[in-house]
């Protein structure tokens, strides 16, 4: 297993032997296909971080993230969301599927 990209809290790995990816969320290591990784990317990049700074739109500053067809559930705070956005954006650049250097919003 080799590291594709590492952010402050998370690490994205690829496993050549298993032809899949792993995301280390700290408390849990999640196995993912590229499709599931694309779905993670969509969910994470769709999170409006601006809402975290608005007491009405996001009261507690948390996001609930469900992954891999509801197999995993994560509760992330603002810093974790920002870091995960980073991991996803940079991870796809490292995999050669993206040209973006900065995190983008979908």
């Amino acid at each position: 297993m080799n590291v594709v990209h590492q952010s402050t809290y998370y690490t994205l790995y690829q496993s050549v032997k298993e032809r899949c990816f792993y995301v280390d969320f700290g408390q849990k290591l999640v196995r993912m296909s590229l499709c599931q990784l694309l779905s993670l990317r969509h969910k994470v990049l769709s999170i409006s971080i601006e809402d975290h700074f608005d007491g009405d739109l996001n009261k507690h500053g948390f996001e609930v993230l469900m992954l891999c067809n509801k197999e995993h559930l994560f509760v992330l705070n603002t810093l974790e969301v920002l870091d995960l956005k980073h991991l996803v954006a940079q991870g796809f650049v490292a995999m050669g599927l993206s040209e973006e250097r900065e995190a983008i919003t979908v």
Binding site: Q14, R19, L34, L38, M95
Partner: protein, 172 residues
């Protein structure tokens, strides 16, 4: 590092995002034309209604074409959320003028994706869009022809009914 990602997906994620945006736009066009068909039915333009039913189906076809391309390239096509469909038109002329505006906006959006794909060196996406570029030329031309016909026919007296009948010439 062996390239599992590239083996699983043959276009750039930026292209995929733009194509998902285009899926939404085609779905929006499909829903808009259905709303226009409804307006035509309620205002006695029955031939124009048929024209818009057909347009609506075609736009859904465009959407599915992009959807299938994203599947074929290993991407993640998203079922679009469509809101804000206008049902109010002041006249049949207004309906067709709005149609042309809509088509021009779609053309611009497709050209934009072609340019971005070119920038990214995403040749597959660029070539895939060739069909859409030409389709848009045809679609714009059809609506312009109908607007010309409306201009020549005029909306006085039986003009409106004549306009509606002639729209039939553009339903294959």
């Amino acid at each position: 590092m062996k390239d599992i990602a590239r083996q699983s997906m043959s276009i750039k994620v930026e292209s995929m995002d733009l194509l998902n945006g285009q899926i939404k736009m085609e779905a929006h066009a499909s829903a808009t034309y259905l709303a226009m068909a409804s307006w035509c039915e309620q205002n006695g333009f029955f031939t124009s209604a048929k024209f818009f039913y057909k347009q609506s189906e075609e736009e859904r076809g465009h959407m599915m074409k992009i959807f299938e391309f994203l599947i074929d390239t290993g991407g993640n096509p998203l079922s679009p959320e469509i809101t804000g469909i206008n049902h109010d038109y002041s006249s049949i002329v207004d309906v067709f003028e709005s149609t042309l505006e809509h088509e021009v906006a779609v053309t611009k959006s497709i050209h934009n994706i072609v340019r971005k794909a070119r920038e990214l060196g995403d040749i597959a996406t660029e070539r895939f869009l060739d069909w859409f570029v030409l389709e848009q030329v045809e679609e714009e031309n059809t609506i312009r022809d109908i607007l010309d016909m409306i201009e020549v026919t005029g909306t006085e007296g039986v003009g409106l009914q004549m306009i509606d009948n002639q729209v039939g010439n553009w339903i294959e």
